[in-house]
């Protein structure tokens, strides 16, 4: 009974946190003028870059996944694990890495310069696409590898006995599998890219490369036209909401988190295929690894000379990550049921800037929203991580309930004793992983804080962004290395806490 009441209260709280800003935004939008040409351009660009990002990521993922599935090589497991890492990587790190490789003075342009080719600028749509593919190629690859692992082993053996190769193999085995996996992969990446803010903020901008999220921010920060921001937020919310619902409908129960990686039998298909696969694997490692390596190389020597304000920002980010994580888990634990997940996942359909704009409009009725920047950031980080956390926690939580509720009842365990002796200890491993994901996401977040934040209360990502804006690239790179270490470190600590001596 007590569990139920807590679950209902928590569910209501999350619903209010998501709905109240939406309703507020809707109300404000009614007061504004009609949608202008700039807004249509933002809508067009948002759709265009999302479609292209999804198509590019998936198109590249198909041969990469095939290569990873049918080749055994040293370090393969390591590569598979690393494909999960971009999920917790701060967007800014990827942006800086991509700039270091493909930017004005980046590796590629310098190489081209040797042959006398003019440097290519990546600001605008090409930069946005590069970073989106950087993040989503690994996601798509993981989903397709998972699709491969669901192909019945008999089908692959049969294909081997029949000597299917090349095109025949593709048509008989791979294509049917892709038809199951690709719709949801495309949909998920499309939805993720719809709400792209930090990438557009750093690499886009201008009339030709502004996403709706960025336009909301600009309406707030540059024009302080709240009605216009609200108008844009309504469009963004409708778009993202519709896309999320459609994606959930087509993707069914595709889970993204667990890659079940089993060895796939494959007939010997000759050395050209082996060379082809190797090229893909090497290219992917270079494309994903080089940017990170470049950021580290550029920044590592500058850490010692970082100013105090950067370290203060780092401290603030650690605190925000800790509070967001605690809040997110407190909201998530009572919601680890079917209905709870439905409510918690609602946050996925609503973008950070829409929620942020709504909260801004609510708070300004009784306080100065800029004073509340850190609190709002914590709350939004928690709500926005909730869908992922529930995805991780719900299945094991249900198993614990099924297995031990009766025993606990017969032992007369009350709600607190249940949490303390059974639920939390048994859930520790997924709990540690979920905490790590939330903490890393909160640590690297460059979203709402840009909307609300001032220099005095900058988080580390915001501080780095400000340094980039001031063209102090050495400092920015050094800060990025600190951010990278903190994000990966906090994830590793939480994950380690979950795994430490859980021996039954």
């Amino acid at each position: 009974m007590a569990h139920r009441i807590v679950a209902i209260i928590t569910g209501g709280l999350v619903a209010v946190l998501v709905l109240a800003p939406l309703v507020t935004v809707w109300g404000w939008a009614q007061t504004g003028r009609a949608i202008g040409a700039g807004d249509w351009a933002a809508l067009r660009f948002t759709l265009l870059q999302s479609v292209l990002s999804a198509l590019l990521s998936c198109a590249l993922a198909v041969p990469l996944a095939r290569a990873l599935v049918r080749r055994r090589f040293w370090g393969r497991e390591w590569v598979m694990t690393a494909l999960g890492a971009p999920f917790i990587l701060p967007v800014l790190i990827a942006v800086m890495g991509v700039l270091a490789v493909f930017g004005q003075n980046g590796l590629v342009n310098r190489a081209l310069g040797v042959f006398g080719v003019e440097p290519v600028s990546i600001y605008g749509i090409s930069g946005v696409l590069l970073v989106h593919v950087f993040f989503n190629l690994p996601l798509a690859t993981r989903m397709i590898v998972q699709g491969w692992s669901r192909v019945p082993a008999e089908h692959l053996r049969l294909a081997g006995q029949l000597g299917l190769r090349g095109w025949a193999m593709f048509r008989v085995v791979e294509w049917p599998m892709l038809m199951r996996v690709l719709p949801s992969a495309l949909g998920i990446i499309f939805v993720i890219c719809l709400s792209s803010f930090a990438v557009a903020l750093t690499l886009g901008g201008g009339p030709r490369a502004t996403t709706l999220e960025l336009a909301i921010y600009q309406a707030f920060r540059y024009d302080f036209d709240l009605a216009k921001a609200a108008n844009l937020a309504v469009i963004q919310a409708a778009l993202a909401g519709a896309a999320a619902v459609i994606t959930v409908m087509i993707s069914g129960h595709e889970s993204v988190s667990n890659t079940c990686d089993r060895a796939v039998f494959w007939s010997h298909d000759g050395w050209p295929a082996a060379v082809w696969d190797s090229l893909w694997i090497v290219a992917a490692i270079a494309f994903l690894g080089l940017p990170i390596a470049m950021v580290v190389a550029q920044g590592i020597t500058g850490i010692a000379s970082l100013g105090g304000s950067v370290w203060w920002a780092a401290g603030r980010s650690i605190a925000i990550a800790a509070v967001s994580t605690a809040l997110c888990l407190a909201l998530a634990l009572p919601l680890t049921t079917r209905w709870g997940e439905v409510i918690g996942t609602a946050g996925l359909a609503i973008s950070p800037l829409v929620l942020g704009a709504g909260l801004f409009l609510i708070i300004r009725n009784f306080a100065n929203p800029f004073d509340w920047a850190l609190v709002v950031t914590c709350v939004l980080n928690a709500v926005l991580s909730l869908p992922f956390v529930l995805r991780i926690l719900r299945p094991p939580a249900e198993t614990i309930r099924v297995n031990y509720t009766r025993l606990a009842q017969s032992l007369r365990l009350g709600p607190t004793a249940w949490l303390r002796w059974v639920f939390i200890p048994r859930l520790r491993q997924p709990l540690g992983f979920a905490a790590g994901v939330t903490a890393a996401l909160s640590m690297g977040d460059l979203g709402v804080i840009v909307l609300f934040g001032t220099s005095e209360q900058a988080t580390l990502p915001l501080k780095i962004y400000q340094l980039m804006g001031a063209y102090r690239m050495d400092q920015a790179a050094a800060g990025a290395v600190v951010l990278l270490a903190l994000s990966l470190g906090i994830f590793a600590i939480c994950d380690y806490w979950g795994r430490r001596d859980v021996k039954d």
């Binding site: 025993l407 009842q409 017969s410 002796w421 039954d504």
Partner: protein, 233 residues
């Protein structure tokens, strides 16, 4: 005395009824064909499932509407009897206290109970480090300390080998003799019933009947039970 009156249980297509049963302290076997509802009967007695109609009373007090935790019932389940992440000591201690600190008096009683079931010195182990028989022993130690007047066992030793099962049955018999609860033990094996249960409750043909004298019942079984015994033995 445990009394069951006019009980009616519906779960989808499944239904089960009892007119009037009176159980005195002592061990009762619960026998009947697979799927007849033996486990369901235990679930209803423990309060995990609710009957559509009827009353269950203990010592004259109606307990039909009580939550599982409020009933004078302890239970040994088919599996998941121990929390795998807790030591044997802590698992057993949960019968007495839910605080981290175990008082000296509680400690003595826990050690005594572990002695009693033959688990002396194994308190620090986790369930995964024990054999199937030892896990059953730990579950018995727990219900000894729970000290409830009604003890329900749902095929508790089904996974054990024959010799081990007999040891456990004898241990259960000892425990029941000493603490004197009203025991209901679901079993598939008539030999189990003959070994320790003088009386039997029969669950067959959507009916709960009893209590029967175990030996008489098995020597002269009604048709439903006879069919079950012939195919299974």
């Amino acid at each position: 005395m445990l009394k069951i009156n006019d009980l009616d249980i519906h779960q989808g297509d499944f239904h089960l009824a009892a007119d009037a049963l009176t159980l005195t302290p002592g061990i009762h076997a619960v026998l009947g064909p697979s799927g007849a509802g033996k486990s369901t009967l235990l679930s209803v007695l423990a309060g995990f499932d609710r009957p559509q109609r009827g009353h269950i009373s203990w010592q004259g007090r109606d307990i039909t509407g009580l939550a599982p935790a409020q009933r004078p019932v302890a239970m040994v389940f088919q599996d998941n009897n121990l929390f795998p992440h807790l030591t044997i000591y802590r698992n057993i201690a949960l019968a007495l206290t839910q605080k981290s600190r175990v008082t000296a008096d509680q400690h003595d009683r826990i050690v005594q109970a572990m002695d009693r079931v033959g688990l002396a010195g194994m308190g620090d182990r986790k369930p995964a480090q024990l054999s199937g028989g030892q896990i059953s022993r730990a579950a018995l130690a727990r219900v000894i300390l729970q000290a409830q007047p009604i003890l329900l066992l749902d095929e508790p030793f089904a996974a054990l080998g024959p010799a081990l099962k007999q040891d456990m049955l004898d241990l259960l018999g000892d425990v029941a003799m000493q603490t004197g609860p009203c025991v209901l033990m679901v079993t598939h094996d008539p030999a189990d019933a003959l070994r320790i249960a003088p009386k039997t409750i029969l669950v067959a043909d959507h009916k709960i009947t009893g209590t029967h004298d175990t030996r008489t019942l098995l020597e002269n079984p009604p048709p439903a039970l006879a069919a079950y015994l012939n195919t299974s033995t």
